[in-house]
Each structure stands twice: as C-alpha cells, then as structure tokens.
C-alpha cells in the first residue's frame, strides 16, 4: 500500500467537500426537510411502541435521518467514479504507479469522511430536537456514524465501479439503496412491522446503524432491536466486508 497516494486521494475528496457548496446542501437539506415535515406530521398521531418519557416521532426519526444524510453523501461521492474513470481525474490515477488498494482506500476513506462530516452538521441539531444524550453517548454516536459512513460508501463504490452510466446508478439507488434505508427501522420500528418485514430489517446491516444511533442518542427511549454491542459488532463486520469487496471488485485484471 502507498500511504502518500491514499492521503492525496482522501484529501481530494475533502477539497471537493468544502468547495462544492451545492453538494453539501444537496445531501443535507432534503433529509432535514423530510425529518422535519414527516417528523412533525406524524409526531402526534404516531404512538411509538416502547417509547418512554414522551419521546415522539421527531426523536425516533432523527437517527434514520442521520443515516439518510450519510447515504446521500456517500452516493454523491462515489457516483463520480463512473464519469471520472472515462473522462477525468481517475484516468491518471489508474496509470499512476500506485497499487489499486491505495486507490480504493483513498476514495472510500475520503468519501466516508465527507459523509461523517455531513452527519456531524445534522448532529448539532440533536439538543434542539429534544435528544438528551450524555457526552459518553456522543462518543458512541460518532463511532456508529463513522462505521455507517464507511459501510455505505463501500456499497456505493462497489456499485459505481461496475456501472458505466450515472443513470444506472440512480436506478440502483432507487431500487436498492433507498429501500435498504426504508427497511432499516429508520422510518418505522421493527417491532410493529409484519413478520416478513421484521426478518428483512433484521438481515439489513443498515438497521444496526439506525439501532446503534437510537440507543446512543436517546438512551432508553425506544425498545432496541439488538444490544448496542451487537449493533457495533455488525457495523464493524459490515464496513470490513464492503471495503474488502470494493478492493476485490476494483482489482487489476490479470
């Protein structure tokens, strides 16, 4: 592995992040609007099972929104791979004397750092949303957020590398990524869902990100699907698996 190459590719993603205001807003604004509108609209009429201390839908939906922001950001970051490879910066990276592993790690780490930072921007609203978490809980939140960014960016990378059109990516996103988010306990809890949906939610790695964030941000407010330890373990395995898959998919043909 070539650390200088990983560093430079990581830094390039960050440069894009703070230079491209439209992208920051594009990934941040829609989820916040969804959160506020859906959260406020359903807030009073929706009784959370196991909700304690008057926690409502705005609080419940906060973690799901955080994951949605990370998902949008990772999609925006990895979608560039498709165009970049044919016409753009990535061409010169592909003929540079660096191992393919450095390219994959630089891109994934850069894009997931951006996802993490975007998540932080939303996390600032947590106290205003009525979430009362202790400093220690925020540490867990950050860890879960980082792992979730890494995992979703890895999935984005695997999809983008194999596709040759951005339209194709949008199709995959609507058909696969958005449902993956919807069926993660982000919108509704597994507990009230029919058995077949419950099974899907349990098998979906994104559910464990939502579950971990909910437990960290609103401790004891909602009945969790799994323990915090299990959630974090699943997230670590998920992130490792998709990063390994990205390296494998982007390996140089023999």
């Amino acid at each position: 592995m070539n650390c200088l190459a990983v560093y430079t590719l990581w830094k390039r993603e960050l440069r894009h992040f703070y230079r491209d205001r439209a992208r920051i807003i594009g990934a941040l604004a829609p989820p916040i609007v969804f959160w506020f509108l859906i959260g406020s609209g359903l807030g009073k009429s929706f009784q959370m099972p196991g909700a304690a201390g008057g926690a409502g839908f705005l609080q419940y939906f906060f973690s799901g929104t955080l994951v949605l922001i990370v998902l949008f950001t990772s999609v925006f970051s990895t979608i560039s791979i498709i165009e970049d490879r044919r016409e753009g910066f990535l061409q010169s990276v592909l003929v540079a004397p660096i191992p393919r592993l450095s390219l994959v790690l630089g891109k994934i780490m850069g894009a997931s750092t951006v996802g993490f930072l975007q998540g932080l921007c939303f996390l600032i609203l947590a106290p205003a949303a009525g979430l009362r978490a202790a400093p220690g809980d925020y540490a867990v939140t950050l860890a879960a957020l980082a792992l979730c960014s890494l995992g979703l960016t890895g999935i984005g990378f695997c999809i983008a590398w194999k596709l040759d059109s951005t339209q194709g990516f949008h199709a995959v996103m609507n058909l696969f990524l958005i449902p993956m988010w919807m069926l993660s306990g982000a919108l509704f809890p597994a507990a009230t869902a029919p058995a077949w949906l419950r099974l899907i939610i349990r098998l979906n790695p994104v559910s464990y990100a939502v579950c971990a964030l909910q437990q960290a941000l609103s401790p004891g407010a909602f009945r969790p699907m799994a323990s915090l330890k299990l959630c974090l373990l699943v997230l670590v395995l998920f992130a490792a698996a998709v990063c390994a898959a990205s390296c494998w998919i982007a390996r140089e043909a023999e």
Partner: protein
C-alpha cells in the same frame, strides 16, 4: 569494430509485436476486434505518430501502451519491460497525457499538480520545486491558484502536459494532443513539445488524426480498421505516391469519374466529393483532362503529395480534418 558498432542496438523505447485486441461482447453489442496483428518499434528519442481515423484502433493501442489495458495476444515492451507483467515498473517511467481531460476541474492548477506529484511519490520541498519549475516553463505561474475548470482549452492542455511531465518520465504518450485546440494553441503545444525534445532526451509517442501533427513526427504508423496500413517517415510515405496529386471538383463527380475511366483508363478516387488522381507529370495531364470534359469540371488543383494523400492512397478513405 565498425560491425560491432552496428550490432550494438539501443533497447527500443517501445516494441510491439503482433498485437491484437478484442473488446468483449457486452449488452447485445457483439465483440469487436480493435487491433489485428500490429507491430511497431519506436527508438529512444524519437517522435512517433500513430495516425488514423477515429475508431481505427489507435486509441486502443494507446491504452495498451499506457498500461491502461493489458496486451493479449501479442508482445508489448515499453522501455524494455513487458507491459503484460511489469506494468508497475513501467508506470513511474512514463508520462501519459489523455485526450479526455484528466484534470480535476474543481481544483486549482497547483492542487492538480500536487495530487499528481503525490501519486508519483514526490513530496515536500522537491515536489514544490518541481511544480514551480513546471509552471514556470509552461507559462502557468500566474494561473496556479485558478481552478482548472475556468481555464481555456489551450491552457488546460498545457497543464495536462506539465502534469504528465512532473515526474520526469523517459517516455511520454499523448493521445490526440491537438484535438479541440485552435491553431494558435496547437502551435503553442508543438513549440512546447519541441522545446522539451531539445532540452532532454525524451521519447514521444502520440496518436492523431490531424495531418499537421503527423508532419511533426519523425516516423509514423498509419493505422486503419485495426491494421497497419503503412509506416515510415513522412517523407518516405509521401514518396510512395510517386508523382503529383490532381484534385478535381465537379458538379457531378460520379459521372466524371466514369468518363475519366473510359477515356484514360485510370480510376480516380472519389474522396469527400472530389476526385483524386495520382500521376507523374501531373501538369502535363491537366490540359488533356480539362479539354476532354469541358462542362464537367469546376476546378482542378495540382499539388505535391501530402500525408493526407498518402492516407487516401493506402486506405481509400478520406480523412476529415
């Protein structure tokens, strides 16, 4: 001693032997053979051109030489190293300038250069010095903090060139370097390439469909439909025509073509709507021609053969400029 001197041969900068390349079938598109049995050799220090129409196979060959694609079947050696197995050793020693922009439009000139330097293992003071001297050499110093997306096409190509040369490669590969540049920017690019050749011993390989670029090369390989159509220096290639080129404009070129064939027993080539005849002592033939078909000829032009004529001669195709 003299014989011994002749036998010592420098390792060619590029050596390609019987290379073919097939793009596999994908999404109902059938497999396409882009290269068939192409061989070539480029000597160190040479400026070598791959000339051919778009879609003729030169970009595929470029991608193989720049280690973007793996060669198979066939043997490709770049700087004496096998491109199929030693890509990692080849890459630090070559500079690649793509036809499609490889600059990050959102980043400034110097940021683009910095990322490139890092990818080639350059860092710290050495990198800063290299970048400063490259920008100076290519007249880009006052643009260093501008995003490359805001530069003109000519300036962007100059940044691409500076970027490709940052790590001091022995061989530089340029894909269609003049395409999309206005005549002024094209001249400027060639001035820079010539200056580069005179300041250090560097081998240059470029692909082009522009005769102007081809004239600037020491040797050329004409490539069409994936096959070698001809090779040699521009002068050698032009000598192949053995005579002058007569171009005839007519309101009815097909009728004129037939009439000339019947009357003189020669077959003029129809290229882009005008007729072409290659003939020794062309000036003596023109009066006969004009007198024979008074109403059919709009204009006649006599010229020494150009590379475009050579191209038409060997491929039967017109090259659109």
């Amino acid at each position: 001693m003299e014989r011994l001197g002749q036998e010592i041969k420098l390792t060619p900068a590029i050596s390609v032997s019987r290379l073919s390349h097939t793009y596999p079938a994908k999404n109902k598109r059938p497999a396409r053979r882009a290269l068939r049995d192409v061989s070539l050799e480029v000597a160190p220090g040479e400026t070598f051109g791959l000339l051919g129409p778009n879609g003729g196979g030169k970009s595929t060959l470029f991608k193989i030489l720049s280690t973007f694609f793996k060669p198979s079947p066939g043997l490709v050696q770049v700087l004496g190293l096998d491109a199929a197995h030693d890509a990692a050793q080849i890459r630090p020693r070559i500079g690649v300038v793509f036809q499609n922009p490889s600059l990050d439009a959102k980043l400034t000139v110097s940021e683009n250069m910095t990322h490139q330097g890092h990818l080639y293992g350059l860092r710290g003071k050495l990198l800063l010095q290299r970048i400063a001297s490259m920008l100076e050499r290519y007249g880009l110093s006052d643009r260093r903090d501008e995003p490359t997306g805001t530069l003109s096409g000519g300036l962007r190509r100059r940044v691409e060139l500076a970027k490709g040369l940052l790590h001091d490669p022995e061989l530089i590969l340029l894909d269609e370097p003049s395409t999309g540049l206005d005549p002024g920017a094209r001249r400027d690019l060639w001035d820079h390439l010539r200056e580069l050749k005179s300041s250090r011993r560097i081998t240059l390989l470029l692909t082009t469909h522009l005769m102007e670029d081809a004239e600037n090369c020491d040797r050329l390989l004409l490539i069409n439909e994936g096959k070698t159509a001809a090779s040699g220096s521009p002068r050698e290639l032009k000598a192949r025509i053995g005579g002058d080129v007569i171009a005839i404009e007519s309101a009815n070129p097909l009728e004129l073509q037939k009439a000339i064939k019947e009357r003189f027993d020669i077959e003029p080539a129809l290229v882009d709507g005008s007729l072409r005849i290659e003939r020794e002592r062309g000036h003596a033939f023109i009066p006969q021609l004009v007198e024979s078909f008074p109403g059919l000829i709009k204009s006649v032009n006599l010229s020494q053969p150009t590379l475009e004529d050579v191209f038409v001669h060997v491929t039967g195709l017109g090259v659109r400029l």
